[in-house]
């Protein structure tokens, strides 16, 4: 008879999609933004990207080796974290900041909480906020080449005017990966096409944010102001690539919509009334913390069940 037959519980077949496939798709989707960042900011940007990714992967490998856990660097998730973190760094960041951020993201935010799937906030954004607090000056200094360093949002805040076309193309100051709306949208379209993400979170996020700015932004229905707010800062990168992080967003359909609304409102509050012109990173990591609560109150009714009146569970 040769080999024994396998026995297991049904179903006996599996879809071809694996976690590694999905993560690889995210990396592919991030390529346009990364390439534009390198084109726009030069080789220094490439160096930072590579250093951050290498640090993240190495940290994951070393930690798992030391803890005698299965090595999971092959699942691309550390690559995604590293790439996202580097795209959130200004080109003026130093190599040791990239290393520090990478270690913080993987070791503190991800592995110490149990590794893949267990982190309660987005590792890349957690590390970015850590760097932002620790090295406020360097992290907010966007000066390079001929640019003075003020981001379009900062200019707007001071009452100046910005060229929205240049913002959409990405020809402005900002972090390595956030400037080009076009490059980010190409990546987002790829992820939507591949079914990696769905429109619920980014859609509700952006719409809520837009409504908030319309109501409280103080500029009313000013098209170019609204567009600048949408295209500026980390909003596009955050909405499409970081708010959609599976692990740190709700799994329930209604929860995803609630989450998007919370993100939009928080980002609006931070941008309109906060101390900084930017607010996406903090809005996302703060909303990450609300996810268990959101899920708890958005458990869907199962098929065929009807909510009885006065039925409190």
């Amino acid at each position: 008879m040769g080999d024994l037959r396998k026995v297991s519980s049904s179903p006996h077949i599996r879809d071809k999609v694996t976690s590694a496939n999905i993560m690889r798709d995210v990396v592919i989707a991030l390529l346009p933004a990364s390439l534009f960042g390198v084109y726009h900011f030069g080789m220094k940007a490439l160096l930072l990207i590579l250093i951050t990714i290498a640090t993240c992967v190495a940290t994951e490998y070393i930690y798992e080796k030391l803890m005698h856990k299965p090595i999971t660097v092959g699942d691309y998730s550390a690559v995604v974290t590293g790439l996202l973190l580097s795209l959130n760094l200004p080109v003026g960041a130093t190599w040791w900041m990239a290393v520090l951020g990478g270690i913080f993201a993987i070791l503190i935010v991800k592995q110490l909480f149990g590794g893949l799937g267990q982190n309660f906030m987005n590792p890349a954004l957690g590390a970015r906020c850590f760097l932002l607090i620790s090295f406020a000056g360097r992290m907010t200094n966007f000066a390079y080449d001929t640019f003075t360093g003020a981001t379009p949002l900062a200019v707007l805040r001071e009452g100046g005017t910005v060229d929205t076309l240049q913002m959409v193309i990405g020809n402005t100051a900002g972090t390595i990966g956030e400037t080009s709306v076009i490059a980010i949208l190409i990546g987002a379209a790829y992820m939507l096409y591949r079914g990696v993400i769905n429109i619920r979170i980014p859609g509700t996020y952006l719409v809520t944010f837009l409504v908030f700015i319309l109501l409280f932004g103080g500029h009313g229905l000013d098209g170019s102001y609204l567009l600048a707010q949408l295209a500026g800062g980390g909003l596009m990168l955050g909405a499409w690539f970081m708010a959609t992080d599976y692990v740190t967003s709700p799994i329930t359909t209604t929860g995803q919509i609630v989450y998007g609304v919370v993100l939009g409102v928080l980002t609006g509050i931070f941008r309109c009334f906060g101390a900084s012109a930017e607010g996406v990173s903090y809005a996302i990591i703060f909303s990450n913390l609300l996810v268990p609560l959101i899920e708890k109150y958005t458990v869907p009714m199962a098929f065929g069940l009807v909510k009885e009146k006065g039925d409190k569970k």
Partner: protein, 438 residues
């Protein structure tokens, strides 16, 4: 008209090309036949023969053990060799009657039936009960019980489940192509029981030939129509079928009859025809032998109790090393460790796979991607349910509606981390059900 379908579900490779063009071949068993006394839901049947007795084809060898039970008939002529526990395809050991086949196929007189137009509803139900017909789609629920709802006048739909959404299965498809008159005839028998009901033959749109043939067969039948369903697994699940055709939603606390529906599988309906019109008790069924490890996949008219290993030989045996042999289809079937088991009333297929996706895909951590949520046709959150299951948190499991799971397996199929979600949920459902019984 909008396509009839449901929310959720998956599209696995269906493998039906392997056997869909193979006509039904009657198979004559060679070795001993084994008749488990429990091939249905409910009380086991009790033997009416003893060791050494000679039995004939179509002779009753075990009596129904109660109302929710079903008799068993011999499918060959020969001698009763033993009455002893025997393994069945689910891996359980069930008390069974073993008959040594004498190869003569000597027939016993059929069921005593009146001409159909003289039958009362009670007569029809009596014949169905006596014939041993049970739900042949897999559940094995005694058909006469299903056809005896409390308020028969409230039934307005009789659905024939010809969706056959399980990959590899083509037995119902072949029945529709080769015996459409029996499908329609069986449905007419059931409609006779429910005066205000509409009969629907429900077929997925990947079987255009069957749809065409049945539409032709139904011409002039005012109470019967063919419903074309979108091809998606698990369209053939009872709740999904009722939803797609009638828009009514069934939950775990209800029976289809509560929503005015009666659902019967294709092969069940033809067996009802055989019993009520032809007076033939249930002694055989159509079994698909397929999968990429089988040399000549095909559809066999298989006498109940036939040894599975023998049937596989009839389909040319294995052409490559088989890794997994499944009784039923790959989504909901049972993996067998031993092929020396009998086919029963609920064996719709034997699927033999050269690769086992389960053991070949290592399980990794849940990344919360939500693919299981999209795939779940019951609107559940399998990822969370499986986490509760791992912790045996029965309370949260029920709060998140875990008991509504129909165990279709879509979540496990869709999971990119290859987590056995359905299995974990199944285990805990069993635990909760056992606790409720206490």
């Amino acid at each position: 008209m909008a396509t009839l379908t449901f929310k959720g579900g998956v599209h696995p490779y269906d493998g039906k090309d392997l056997s869909k063009d193979k006509s039904i071949v009657p198979y004559m068993p060679k070795g001993d036949l084994i008749y488990p006394l429990s091939q249905h839901i409910g009380a086991p049947a009790s033997p009416t023969v003893a060791k050494g007795d000679r039995v004939l084809v179509g002779q009753k060898i075990a009596e129904a053990g109660g109302f929710v039970s079903s008799p068993v008939y011999a499918s060959v002529s020969g001698t009763v060799k033993a009455i002893e526990p025997h393994f069945v395809s689910t891996g359980a050991k069930v008390n069974s009657i073993v008959v040594e086949n004498d190869g003569l196929y000597e027939e016993a007189p059929g069921l005593s039936i009146k001409p159909f137009d003289q039958m009362t509803k009670e007569d029809i139900l009596g014949v169905i009960r006596e014939s041993g017909v049970v739900g042949m789609g897999g559940a094995g629920f005694p058909t006469h019980v299903k056809l005896s709802p409390k308020e028969p006048d409230k039934i307005d739909y009789v659905l024939v489940n010809c969706a056959e959404c399980e990959p590899y299965l083509t037995s119902d498809y072949r029945i529709m192509l080769e015996r459409p008159e029996k499908v329609v005839g069986g449905l007419k028998v059931v409609l006779e029981l429910f005066g205000s009901a509409q009969g629907c033959i429900c077929i997925e749109d990947n079987k255009p030939e069957a749809i065409k043939i049945l539409q032709k067969e139904c011409e002039g039948e005012s109470r019967i129509q063919v419903k074309v369903l979108k091809t998606k697994y698990p369209q053939g699940a009872e709740r999904m079928l009722i939803h797609a055709v009638t828009g009514r939603d069934l939950n775990s606390g209800m029976l289809p009859a509560d929503l005015g529906c009666v659902v019967d599988n294709c092969d069940t309906i033809t067996s009802i025809y055989d019993a009520v019109i032809l007076g033939k008790p249930l002694t055989s069924r159509i079994v698909t032998i397929s999968g990429d490890a089988i040399a000549n996949p095909g559809n066999f008219e298989c006498r109940m109790g036939t040894n599975v290993a023998e049937l596989i030989e009839a389909a040319g045996g294995f052409k490559t090393q088989e890794k997994k042999v499944i009784s039923g289809g790959p989504m909901m079937g049972f993996a067998m460790f031993d092929l020396e088991v009998p086919t029963t009333k609920t064996t719709s297929a034997i699927t033999c796979l050269a690769n086992d996706a389960v053991s070949e895909s290592p399980t990794t951590a849940c990344i919360n991607c939500g693919r299981c949520v999209t795939a779940c046709d019951e609107g559940l959150i399998p990822a969370r349910l499986s986490q509760f299951a791992e912790k045996f948190d029965l309370e949260s499991f029920q709060k998140w509606h875990g008991m509504e799971c129909v165990e279709c397996g879509c979540c496990s199929y869709a999971c990119p981390a290859k987590r056995p979600l359905a299995q974990m949920i199944k285990n805990v459902r069993r635990m909760v059900m056992a606790n409720r019984k206490k």
